[in-house]
Symmetry: C2
Subunit: 221 residues, 2 copies
DNA sequence: TTAAAAACTTGACCGGCATCAAGAAATAAA
DNA sequence: TTTATTTCTTGATGCCGGTCAAGTTTTTAA
């Protein structure tokens, strides 16, 4: 089955040899989730490293008032669960498959043994942490200091830049995008309409968006 | 000089022997900053691990619109700069001493050599990352989904809990606290007055606050 | 101790955006 | 396909909290 090769999808194992990857494959567990299914909840013990072998997973938190905050959108090859692997913590987030998803997991002790054996893994994990920290710092600053309009404009230009195209389909539904940007679906609709009226974007059928003027979009305050 | 012992203040070196600490001391550089002085700016190259030997440092970002976001308040023994030590990135944050501060720094290549030599350091750094990620995830969720009132109430109860006392002095000025909580000094003043009118806290001279009803405070929406 | 500067408080105003509601569109199921 | 369900859009309304301003208190400097 294809997802048995999930280990080689993951950048943190990229410097290992084929036979070493085989060793890891043997300690990996495979799971399949349907769209909408919960992978883990905030109360769960945190003793697994999770690898998305195929699919899409949203990781989110719930605030005290019950509102949802989308933190990460995991794609094939992304990992999660490392954050607190090194402390005796509980999870603080929820994870839910957005589409049918294959996941591999490695138990905490197995992963720690791997890090002992292959020091390059630690370095890679530190890289992942660093990137994620940098991203979260930006997100915090952005939600706390910029308008919804500016955050949405940023999201659109960044997504276009990442995909290297000016026409793309929004990868998630507006409700999820809203919780990611710290706003509501209604406001996203309104702002997209506004951008279109300003000629900055064009909305096409099926959540497809074409960016007409990325420079001007970025000037949104 | 006392700050020559900064290395032993730092948890990431806590499992090393005395003679190993001596080795590290030799590669460490010492700096002193006055209150208000800038330690580094966002444009600076990121090639130093920074250790606060004595004092207090605020780490913040500037949004596109010029507004400030306080990310971390570093105390004696805290480190910073590791986030992107493992990628060839530039800094994205600014750091400024809030009081007269002694800082030790270790160059990137020296630190990486240390991690090679003493694997326990990598594990410790992973710990620091994990804690910081968890904290930032909470901060993002909080600023994006909860009211200013709730965020301030949380901050007060958490600070009290951390200091294990119900009467404490706000460690930073309101302007900085405002950028930390994603609000303004005026709103903080108003909300503190509100809490006092509700009997939840008592404000005393010199930014000293006494928490009268932490349970009720946490119920603030 | 006194003077100057910085930080804080309170008031008035108002705009951005959340909320509620109802209809339209798109997606999924039958 | 047709139907049912979910998602999206648009309008009306209200409030949280930001901004500007002026006075007060605290802190710093002389």
């Amino acid at each position: 089955m294809a997802n048995h090769e999930c280990v080689q999808l993951v950048p943190i194992f990229s410097e290992l040899e084929a036979d070493q990857l085989d060793t890891i494959e043997k300690i990996v567990r495979h799971h399949h989730y349907q769209a909408g299914e919960t992978l883990f909840s905030a109360a769960d013990a945190l003793d697994q490293l999770m690898i998305v072998a195929n699919g899409q997973v949203k990781v989110y938190q719930l605030a005290a008032n019950g509102r949802e905050q989308l933190l990460y959108l995991l794609q094939t090859g992304d990992i999660d669960g490392e954050a607190a692997l090194f402390e005796n913590q509980q999870r603080t987030s929820f994870a839910e498959a957005l589409v049918p998803t294959d996941v591999c997991s490695i138990r905490r002790e197995d992963f720690q043994a791997l890090m002992q054996q292959y020091p390059s893994i630690s370095i890679k994990v530190l890289n992942v942490f660093g990137k994620r920290l940098t991203q979260l710092e930006r997100q915090t600053t952005s939600t706390a200091t910029e308008s919804v309009e500016a955050r949405l404009a940023n999201y659109l230009t960044e997504t276009a830049a990442a995909l290297k195209t000016d026409t793309f389909k929004l990868p998630i539904k507006k409700k999820d995008l809203a919780t990611f940007l710290g706003t509501t679906p209604e406001t996203i609709s309104r702002k997209l309409t506004l951008f279109e009226q300003q000629g900055l974007i064009t909305q096409q059928a099926g959540k497809v968006i074409k960016i007409n003027d990325a420079d001007q979009l970025l000037l949104t305050e």
